[in-house]
């Protein structure tokens, strides 16, 4: 059981890192020499607070268009999925073991 959970986490994390790395390289290739104060903008009075759209629809469209920010966002979602997936896996494995405590 340990091996399954460990494997899930390791591959999930590697996948997420690879996706984020690709997105980062693309982002720096296009915007690397821009000042960050132009790229990272927080708007307290609007939702979402940043100057990008984090919604899933926009992200999928962005993935197809190879938009770097969408790729990074996708990689982060894969990362977020790792603890969720391992909780589900653990619950499944514990009950399969007949361990009802």
């Amino acid at each position: 059981m340990n091996a399954l959970i460990s494997g899930l986490l390791r591959y999930g994390v590697i996948l997420s890192a690879a996706i984020i790395a690709i997105g980062t390289v693309l982002l720096l290739l296009s915007n690397g020499s821009q000042d960050i104060s132009q790229l990272v903008v927080y708007n307290p009075n609007q939702l979402p607070h940043g100057n990008f759209d984090p919604s899933l629809g926009h992200m999928f469209a962005g993935l197809v268009a190879l938009d770097p920010q969408s790729i990074i966002e996708f990689g982060v979602l894969v990362l977020l999925a790792t603890p969720a997936a391992r909780v589900l896996l653990s619950v499944f494995l514990f009950t399969a073991e007949g361990d009802r405590t």
Partner: protein
Amino acid sequence: MIAIEFTIIVLLVSVVGGILGSILGLGGAVVVTPLLTIFLGIDIHFAIGASIVSIIATSSGAAAAYVKDKLTNLRIAMFLELGTTCGAIVGAGLAVYANSTLLKAIFGCVLLVSLVPILMKIGEDIPKSPELKGLAKRLSLQGSYTETNGTVVRYNSTRPGAGMFGMVVAGLLSGLLGIGSGAFKVLSMDLAMKLPMKVSTTTSNFMIGVTAAASAGIYIVRGDVDPLIVAPVAIGILIGALIGSRLLPRTRNPTVRKIFAIVLAATALEMIAGVFGY
């Protein structure tokens, strides 16, 4: 400063954050958040979004190794997670009503006060294993791991109720302040449940990812997770966690506790300084 410089600086500091965080059962946010807010002038909301991501990265990044090495106690983690998740949900719900300045001040003071029992145990390697009885016995909250020199360490836990209470509080703080509260979890396992230090930190490490994932979705939807900021944080932390998780099994329990005490003090002071607007 330009984007590429920013990315490299954040990446390098996040590696350090990942190493420390994975050894101590904390999220790398302890190192990353002050870098972002104090040194790089990033808005606090983006910093919190990045810290949530860094907590998940530290947790999953290191857990792969710790679970395989059997340092993380999965039964205890799963039992205690019930408490943190409930606490986190309630905490996130109450966040709108909370006075976060007051909470940070209280949290900072609690952390400082907890230094006392930690320092009293500073040289301890394996705690005198308490007798397994009551709820701890019924749930088999015990385990063993093997040190790199081959010694097998068997341990029991005690006072699971107190540990659970600590977890609910940790969860509440996570939801209210957007932190992983790994420090609190480690303290509960170390002081209340008397687990060996390395088991406490690795088990906390495993748990903080779930707590953070619970709030992460909300932060992303609100646009508080900025890709340019979180990308180097995530990658740096993952690299750091990989390194840290290789280092920890070779590190002795008292050494881990000493490093924890230093970082605990720093985190407490950081929290309190934050109250005064730093």
